[in-house]
């Protein structure tokens, strides 16, 4: 049995224009839910990219007592050099003068604070890049130095990273939750739009069944209608993600007042992936919504 393309196109067009308000409502819901969903995905990608940057650099810092002796320092340096988990070129010693310069740079806007500090009271430190990036191994490695003579403290970079990641995961989860709720709403709206479309055409459907039109012949225009609605929504969502959300994230990553966003990056690949995902989700939602409507309310 051949389902004619022009027939499906004609029927779908009629259906879409028949219930303009309901169709628009479901399309708008799809737009909002997919944009939220896509933003959550992109935010997550941005956080991951930021973390990757962190990982390339220093993983932990061993701060020495300002009063530590040269012997203690040499002993720790030997231990670090002998440790197979520490990269050969991954040991940088920062002495008190350099630490003071860094301090002045970081707190340059608070001259009073800088004035109270002298190089002698600041801790020299080893900045360490390990060979592995697994947080557990890095932590175990760093802790070996915590109790050594002359060590003031060991600070791990991934603790900061973890904090950022946890914060954004929390935001992302809430975004996703809202997106899922809206997607369910979109699904139900699609279902109802199709149901109304079928109700409007119940006489035709009755005749079609009577003269022996196959079930799929009757169903296909309605399912196509559902998918077209979600795809129209997806098109708007993709546009807003490409031209609004992504530039916004880029802007945030340049923001000097909110350094937490620094290093955030959404690559072109990320954007394409997210957009494809959004289109895929849209297709699935449209297909499921209309298929459920067709199977529940079209008794064929």
């Amino acid at each position: 049995m051949a389902i004619k393309l022009d027939y499906v196109a004609r029927e779908t067009a009629t259906n879409l224009t028949r219930n303009v308000t309901l169709t628009l409502a479901s399309i708008l819901t799809v737009v909002v839910s997919l944009t939220l969903f896509g933003s959550a995905v992109m935010l997550n990608q941005g956080v991951n990219n930021a973390n990757d940057r962190f990982k390339g650099g220093i993983e932990f810092i061993v701060y020495l007592q300002p009063t530590s002796s040269q012997d203690q320092k040499d002993s720790i340096q030997r231990d670090l050099e002998a440790n197979p988990d520490v990269r050969e070129d991954g040991i940088t010693y920062v002495d008190q003068d350099e630490t003071y310069e860094e301090f002045k740079r970081l707190f340059g806007e608070s001259p009073q604070l800088v004035e109270t500090v002298t190089p002698e009271i600041l801790p020299p430190s080893f900045r360490i890049a390990p060979t592995v990036q697994d947080p557990d191994i890095v932590q175990a490695l760093g802790q070996q130095f915590e109790d050594k003579a002359g060590v003031y403290d060991v600070v791990f970079a991934f603790e900061v990273v973890k904090r950022i990641q946890e914060t954004f995961n929390k935001i992302g989860v809430r975004f996703l939750l809202a997106a899922v709720l809206l997607l369910v709403a979109a699904l139900m709206l699609i279902l109802n739009t199709i149901r109304v479309a079928m109700f409007a055409r119940r006489r035709e459907i009755e005749v079609m069944k009577l003269v022996g039109a196959t079930n799929w012949f009757i169903r296909v225009p309605f399912i196509v209608e559902g998918i077209i609605q979600t795809l129209l929504g997806a098109a708007v969502a993709v546009a807003s993600m490409t031209f609004v959300i992504r530039p916004f994230i880029d802007e945030l990553s340049q923001d000097k007042v909110l350094p937490i966003f620094q290093g955030f990056e959404v690559t072109d690949g990320n954007l394409v992936f997210t957009n494809l995902l959004v289109v895929a989700v849209a297709t699935v939602i449209g297909a499921i919504g209309s298929a459920v409507a067709v199977s529940r309310f079209l008794d064929v």
Partner: protein
């Protein structure tokens, strides 16, 4: 052509619509189903084109047991059965031509078939001049002719008519019966449920009488009662 073997159909509210009915209709026959409202006439027709399925018994249409017919094959069964109703079931937003063409289009008939078959059948039912009219511009008799044209345009083996003259005056009904008779003479089996005593008594065809779901009379060249 149609055979029922011990067919029982009961609805959920314990109404027995058909009770152990056994009957056979040969190819090319013209059969009247008579009986009071609720005697099972419509159920008989609905069972034959599988709008309903029986609880017990077997039904054969054109040699095939339709009780075991899978649901996706039902449309193909219905392509061999034309249906006509008391309320015509025409699509009000389509013209006479479109109503008839619709029946061919939705079963995937090619356009050139539609273009030749539809005018031919409308000529046969006497509506060649009304092809562009909408159903609400036609009389009841004309609307029923459109509905018969739609049922017959695909040249089905069987025509089921459920009180086709129920909404029409006697003179118009005679015209409709002439048309059904003419269709019957082309070899199409016609089964018609009716309350119209004068039609049954005039036509003198086979009469099957139902009473509360049971066949109580089966008479060739019969009368209404």
């Amino acid at each position: 052509m149609i055979k029922l073997e011990n067919v029982t159909k009961a609805y959920k509210n314990d109404v027995t619509a058909l009770n152990e009915a056994t009957v056979e209709v040969e190819k090319g026959e013209f059969v009247f189903l008579v009986g009071a409202s609720g005697s099972g006439k419509s159920t008989f027709l609905r069972l034959v084109n599988k709008e309903e399925s029986p609880e017990i018994g077997r039904i054969f249409v054109a040699g095939k047991d339709i009780a075991t017919l899978s649901s996706w094959k039902v449309p193909y069964l219905r392509r061999n059965i034309g249906s006509v109703f008391q309320d015509f079931k025409l699509l009000t937003n389509k013209t006479v031509y479109e109503n008839v063409a619709f029946a061919l289009e939705v079963i995937g008939r090619p356009r050139h078939v539609v273009k030749t078959q539809v005018p031919a059948i409308l000529e046969l039912v006497g509506l060649a001049k009304k092809v562009g009219n909408f159903p609400n511009e036609l009389s009841g008799g004309e609307q029923q002719r459109v509905s018969i044209a739609r049922a017959f345009v695909n040249r089905p083996l069987i025509l089921l008519a459920d009180e086709p003259t129920g909404n029409l005056d006697p003179a118009t009904s005679v015209g409709i019966m002439r048309l059904l008779d003419r269709i019957n003479r082309t070899g199409t089996t016609v089964v018609m449920a009716t309350h119209d005593r004068s039609i049954v008594d005039t036509m003198r065809r086979r009469v099957i009488e139902l009473d509360r779901g049971s066949i109580i009379r089966d008479q060739s060249r019969g009368v209404y009662e």
